[in-house]
Symmetry: C2
Subunit: 371 residues, 2 copies
């Protein structure tokens, strides 16, 4: 099972594992084959990839000077521990004893502790940002019309399908309406989202926004979802940055033409940066009650397109976006990303379609989960 010598230490350890009594079930061998060709194996992806993490990926990691400015504290700060005490006195109900414990357990970098105290406690603490990415329902794809426009309209069609959405594009887009099944998917996805968010909205002071791409299939889906959500959900105007496109080339090779990536890529990256960022503590409005202690959350429901969602997923997790076609994602599925106040990003689910019956599961025109 462990062929090739590229990780000899791994192979030895695996042999040790087998010797130590681990059964190796499902051992599938190629014993029936001849010896493999003699050429050396290609470099392994496990060696080529890297798991770096840029902790200031959104350019929102605040310096101590920025925190001081936001709090109207004196600058420069001579005594960071005293400045941290001041944040805790001004923004928490902690006793003097509790405050001293925070200082004592704060580690060796007093300036970092000051910034952390701002993030955690100022104005009730920075909220967790939840991004709920929803793929539109199944729609009339109009592939023949698209091929016809590509073949007959040349540069004009390139222009329309990249930056400038003219009458030709509009007419095409308007014909890409949801199928009856696509509308059913949107209803069920709306019901699931309503159930997810009802307690949040009932708790008060929690923000939920509904965003949508300008494309017909997304707007139809968002309209159906909105009809299932509480009225308190804020609906943002349709956003052309969120339209479908080819955000990156694909490795291994998949469809993504150079002209599409050249234009779509930068637009979808702009959409990413407008949506994905850590929350900062926020001065409450005069009338707003000051919240202490309870964790805060805010929610963005984003009804858009699978290529956009796959790109967002990989960008947010700082994984190579060129891997986007290694992910699928059914119509009406929900992808849940969380951005914590310290900039950590987590994917709780990708392409969750468990709220749909199996016969309602589609990937484009293909019905069924199996593919």
């Amino acid at each position: 099972m462990f062929r090739g010598a590229w990780v000899p230490r791994a192979a030895r350890a695996a042999a040790a594992a087998a010797a130590a009594g681990f059964c190796t079930t499902a051992a599938v061998t190629l014993a029936q084959c001849d010896a493999p060709a003699r050429s050396p194996p290609p470099p392994r992806a496990a060696e080529a990839t890297s798991a770096a993490w840029d902790s200031n990926w959104d350019c929102r990691a605040l310096s101590a000077r920025q925190v001081a400015s936001l709090l109207n504290h004196a600058w420069p700060i001579d005594d960071y521990h005293e400045a941290t005490r001041r944040i805790l006195r001004e923004h928490t109900s902690k006793s003097a004893e509790q405050i001293e414990r925070v200082i004592a357990e704060g580690g060796a970098d007093p300036a970092a502790l000051y910034c952390k105290a701002y993030r955690r406690y100022a104005y009730g603490g920075a909220p967790v940002r939840h991004i709920l990415l929803v793929r539109h329902g199944q729609y009339e794809e109009q592939r023949e019309l698209s091929a016809h426009l590509r073949a007959t309209e040349g540069a004009r069609w390139l222009d329309e399908r990249t930056f400038r959405r003219g009458a030709l594009w509009q007419s095409y887009n308007e014909q890409q309406v949801l199928t009856p099944l696509g509308r059913k998917q949107a209803e069920k996805t709306g019901d699931r989202l309503a159930a997810m968010l009802a307690p949040q909205l009932a708790a008060g002071g929690r923000e939920v926004r509904l965003r949508v791409s300008t494309m017909t299939r997304a707007r139809e889906t968002a309209q159906i979802i909105a009809s299932r959500l509480p009225a308190a959900v804020e609906q943002a105007p349709p956003d052309p940055l969120l339209e479908e496109g080819a955000a990156a080339f694909s490795v291994p090779v998949g469809f993504a033409e150079a002209d599409d990536v050249h234009y779509d890529g930068i637009r979808i990256e702009a959409a990413f940066r407008s949506l994905f960022y850590r929350a900062l503590p926020r001065k409450p409005e005069a009338a707003e009650p000051r919240r202490r202690g309870a964790p805060r959350h805010e929610f963005e429901i984003v009804v858009c397109h699978m290529n956009v969602i796959r790109y967002f997923l990989l960008r947010a997790l700082q994984l190579p976006p060129e891997a986007w076609l290694r992910f699928g994602g059914f119509n009406g599925s929900i992808t849940h990303l969380r951005i914590l106040p310290d900039g950590t990003v987590k994917c709780d689910s990708f392409g969750d379609a468990g709220h749909l019956d199996l016969e309602e599961t589609t990937f484009g025109s293909k019905v069924g989960w199996e593919r």
Copy 2:
């Protein structure tokens, strides 16, 4: 919104996009802050990562010589096109005209066409392998007991929790039983899987196997799932390779101790290699009807643990495994990976928990999807 000069071309294009009429909704600025600190920004993850794809990741990409051996064809092959015609004549119902079309459209590498014809057509074609990774239900975590054993048992406990599962480990493991909610989750997950697989099993000639880790919480979950599945599902013996552990270090820093990774890592990698591989065409049993044309599928349901599932996901997609803690995954959730006969791997969903009611959603002891 586009701060810093690290991608000036991107920034220019984004400015162009804005000028071309894309509204930039949700523009969040740090205008209220001072200028950022002067130090140069750290290297970007997008530059540090790489999306290489090793097409022979499972060492199962067959050479033309291996195909010839499997088919008892003469070797060496002088005329690959004639050999391809022979595969198509022997294994398909294609007409002579259709066969010539396959040859004509086969591209510039006749040996590759020969291998591809083997994979697609020999013995009905190689099946798509579906790996359905299921996280066990919520359980009694026994964290205090674990801490006590770590503190009091030293090297013995290290030995027990890595390679050699002795009486101490067994006693600890047996106390980690499902909670009532965990059993409920397992029932619902079993019902969902039964619905997914019933048509497959009814179609005949489709293989479904149920695999499970040796740990109590996984075995209890698998037992409940099995009680909901058709009797035709083959149950493999519990597999110690699939037990929970720390398969890799975490970037950014998370919990994963060096001794755990040293031992668990190689065991879980062995589990990966025993489960993840492309299917090859398979000679039918004498009594088995020869299937022509219909796509073939086989299914592995694997009831195991979230660290293992996150590691499998990243390894299968050839993304850096050290990113595993960037993924969550609720109890009872289903992760669906597909391995195509050409070695392509797709993630259709990760951590799908939509079949659970929201109040049944847990991540360990934490109840609720929001976190």
